[in-house]
C-alpha cells in the first residue's frame, strides 16, 4: 500500500473510531458507575440512541441568540475531528502526522473550549454565563499543568511532536516506568479529569443549579445542535483518554504499512482507551465532587506534579 493512501486510511479510521467510540465510551463509563453503585444502568449504546433521537428533532434557537449558538457545536466538532485525525493513535503514520505537535493538539482542544464558552454566553441566560465563567476558570487553572506536563514528556524524546514521542517510547520501553513519566501521568490524569468534566471537578450527571459547569453551558441547546455538541464532547473525551493511553502505554500502535498492524492498532487502542475510561469511572464512583473553591488546590497539585516531572526528567536524563 502506498504511503499517502495509507495515511488517509489511518486518519479516516481514527475519526470514525472516535465518532462511534466516543459516545460508547461515555455509555461505558455510565454503565460502570451504575454497576458499581448497585444499579443496572442504561445499555452502553444509550448515548448513540440519544444522538439519533436528537438528530430527528427540529432546530430551535433561543429568541435573542446570535450566530454563535449554532456555530459553537460545529467549531467543537470540527476542531476535535482535526485533532483526532492527526494524532498518532492507531498508527504512527496519520495524515499530517508531522504537524501533530502536542501544542497544536492542546490549542485545537482549547479552540473547542472557547467556542463552548461563547456558545454558553450567547443566549444571555444567567446559567449559561455562570457555566462559561466556571469552565473558563477551570480551563485557565488546568492549562499550565497540561503544558508543563507536556514539556516533561518531550524532554526524553527531545521533541514535542506526538508521533516522535510515541515512536521514541516504542523504541525505549524502559522510559515508561521512569519517575518523570509516572509524575507526568499523574499530572495529566488530573488535567484530563478537569478537561473532560468528570466528578472531582464537575458532575456530568447533575442538573442542580449551584453545581453545574458543563451542563449549564448547554442548557439553551436542543435538537441536532445538541446532538452535534454531545458528539463533539464525546470525541473530545475519547481523544483525551486515548492520548493518555497512547503516550504512556504506546504498545500496539502500528509503525509499518501493513493492514494487519492497523487492525492490531485499532484493537489495542480500543482496549487501552476502555481501560482508561474504566479507571476514570472508578475514580468517579469513589470520590465526591470538590467544592468549587477547593478546585484550585487540586489543579495546583497537578501543576506541581508536572513541575516535578520536568525536574526529575532533567535530573535523570
Amino acid at each position: 500500500m502506498t504511503s499517502p493512501l495509507y495515511s488517509v486510511i489511518v486518519t479516516l479510521v481514527q475519526v470514525v473510531l472516535a465518532a462511534t467510540g466516543g459516545p460508547l465510551l461515555i455509555g461505558l463509563m455510565a454503565k460502570v458507575k451504575a454497576r458499581a453503585e448497585g444499579r443496572v444502568g442504561a445499555p452502553i449504546v444509550q448515548p448513540l440512541r440519544d444522538l439519533r433521537k436528537l438528530m430527528r428533532k427540529e432546530r430551535l434557537h433561543a429568541r435573542h441568540s446570535s450566530v454563535m449558538l449554532p456555530l459553537a457545536p460545529m467549531v467543537i466538532f470540527a476542531a476535535t475531528t482535526v485533532a483526532v485525525g492527526i494524532s498518532p493513535l492507531v498508527s504512527t503514520r496519520p495524515l499530517l502526522g508531522s504537524s501533530a505537535d502536542i501544542f497544536v493538539i492542546v490549542y485545537l482542544l482549547l479552540t473547542g473550549s472557547v467556542a463552548a464558552a461563547l456558545g454558553g454566553l450567547d443566549a444571555g441566560t444567567a446559567f449559561g454565563g455562570m457555566g462559561s465563567s466556571r469552565a473558563m476558570t477551570i480551563g485557565a487553572l488546568a492549562e499550565p499543568a497540561l503544558l508543563v506536563a507536556v514539556i516533561a514528556l518531550s524532554i526524553q524524546s527531545s521533541s514535542s511532536n506526538l508521533t516522535t514521542i510515541v515512536s521514541a517510547t516504542l523504541a525505549h520501553p524502559d522510559w515508561v516506568f521512569g519517575p518523570s513519566r509516572l509524575l507526568a501521568l499523574g499530572a495529566l490524569g488530573i488535567v484530563v479529569i478537569a478537561e473532560t468534566g468528570r466528578i472531582p471537578v464537575d458532575n456530568p450527571a447533575t442538573h442542580l443549579e449551584l453545581t453545574m459547569v458543563h451542563e449549564a453551558m448547554i442548557l439553551e441547546y436542543a435538537g441536532p445542535e445538541l446532538a452535534l455538541y454531545h458528539l463533539g464532547e464525546a470525541m473530545r473525551v475519547s481523544l483525551l483518554f486515548s492520548l493518555v493511553a497512547t503516550l504512556f502505554f504506546p504498545w500496539g500502535v502500528a509503525t509499518g504499512h501493513s493492514v494487519l498492524a492497523l487492525v492490531v492498532g485499532v484493537g489495542a487502542l480500543v482496549v487501552k482507551t476502555a481501560l482508561v475510561a474504566l479507571a476514570v469511572a472508578l475514580i468517579e464512583v469513589r470520590s465526591a465532587k470538590l467544592r468549587l473553591f477547593r478546585l484550585p488546590e487540586l489543579l495546583a497539585g497537578g501543576f506541581v506534579l508536572s513541575v516535578l516531572a520536568v525536574v526529575t526528567g532533567l535530573v535523570t536524563r
Binding site: D174, L183, V304, L308, V311, V315, T316
Partner: protein, 218 residues
C-alpha cells in the same frame, strides 16, 4: 542489572520528593502522616538499593534501620499524637494550599538550578539525584515555617531530616553506621519529646495551634 538499579533508585528518590509535596497538598493530618510513612519507606528503599549495588553492608543495615524508624515507628508515634486533638483534623496554614504548592514548585526548580552545578563535579547515577534530596529539605523547611499545628511542624522537621539523609546516601554512600544510628535515634527522641510537649500543651491550653499561644504560664 545496572539499568534496574538505576530505575529503582530513581523511583525511590522520586517517591521521596512526591511524598514531601503531598504533605503540603493534603489537609487531613492522618493522610499527611501516611505520606511521611511512605517517604520513610522510599528513603529506606534508596539506601538498601545503594547498599546492594555498592556491596556496602553498613548502608544495607542503615536502610533497614531507616525502614523501621522512619517508616513505622515515627509515623506510629505521630498517629498517636494526632489522636489527641480530634476536633481540628484540618490544618489552617499561614500560606494557603495552592500558593504553597506553587512555592514548592519554585523551591524544587531552585534546588535543581543550584545543585546541578555541584553534582556536575562528579556525575554518576546516584549523584545526579541529589537535587531531589535538596528539594525535599527546602520543602520541609517551608512546611516548618508556614504550618500552625504542632504535628505539621514535626512533620516538616522530619522532612528536613529525610532530605538530608537522602543527600548523604547519594553523595557519600551514607555516613558511618554509628553516626546514622545516632541521628536516627536522635530524630526518634525528638519526636517522643515533642509528643510529651504537645500532650501538656493540649492539657494546658486545649489547643495545639502554636499561634494561639500568646503568653507564658508557670
Amino acid at each position: 542489572m545496572n539499568t534496574t538499579y538505576v530505575a529503582v533508585l530513581e523511583l525511590a528518590a522520586g517517591a521521596v520528593l512526591v511524598s514531601a509535596v503531598m504533605t503540603l497538598w493534603r489537609r487531613n493530618v492522618r493522610s499527611i502522616i501516611s505520606m511521611l510513612s511512605l517517604q520513610g519507606i522510599a528513603l529506606a528503599t534508596a539506601a538498601i538499593v545503594l547498599g546492594w549495588h555498592e556491596h556496602d553492608v553498613a548502608l544495607f543495615v542503615t536502610g533497614g534501620l531507616v525502614l523501621v524508624v522512619k517508616g513505622l515507628v515515627v509515623p506510629g508515634v505521630l498517629r498517636r499524637v494526632a489522636r489527641l486533638d480530634p476536633r481540628s483534623r484540618e490544618s489552617r496554614p499561614l500560606v494557603n494550599v495552592p500558593a504553597s504548592l506553587v512555592i514548592a514548585a519554585l523551591l524544587i526548580v531552585l534546588s535543581y538550578v543550584v545543585t546541578s552545578r555541584i553534582t556536575s563535579l562528579a556525575p554518576s547515577d546516584a549523584t545526579r539525584l541529589v537535587p531531589i534530596g535538596v528539594a525535599t529539605v527546602l520543602v520541609g523547611y517551608f512546611m516548618l515555617v508556614t504550618r500552625r499545628r504542632a504535628v505539621s511542624k514535626i512533620v516538616g522537621l522530619i522532612l528536613v531530616d529525610n532530605g538530608i539523609a537522602l543527600v548523604t546516601f547519594l553523595l557519600t554512600s551514607g555516613v558511618p553506621l554509628i553516626v546514622e544510628l545516632g541521628s536516627s535515634l536522635d530524630v526518634l527522641l525528638v519526636v517522643v519529646v515533642l509528643q510529651f510537649l504537645m500532650v501538656s500543651m493540649v492539657h494546658h491550653s486545649d489547643t495545639e495551634q502554636l499561634t494561639e499561644m500568646k503568653a507564658l504560664h508557670d
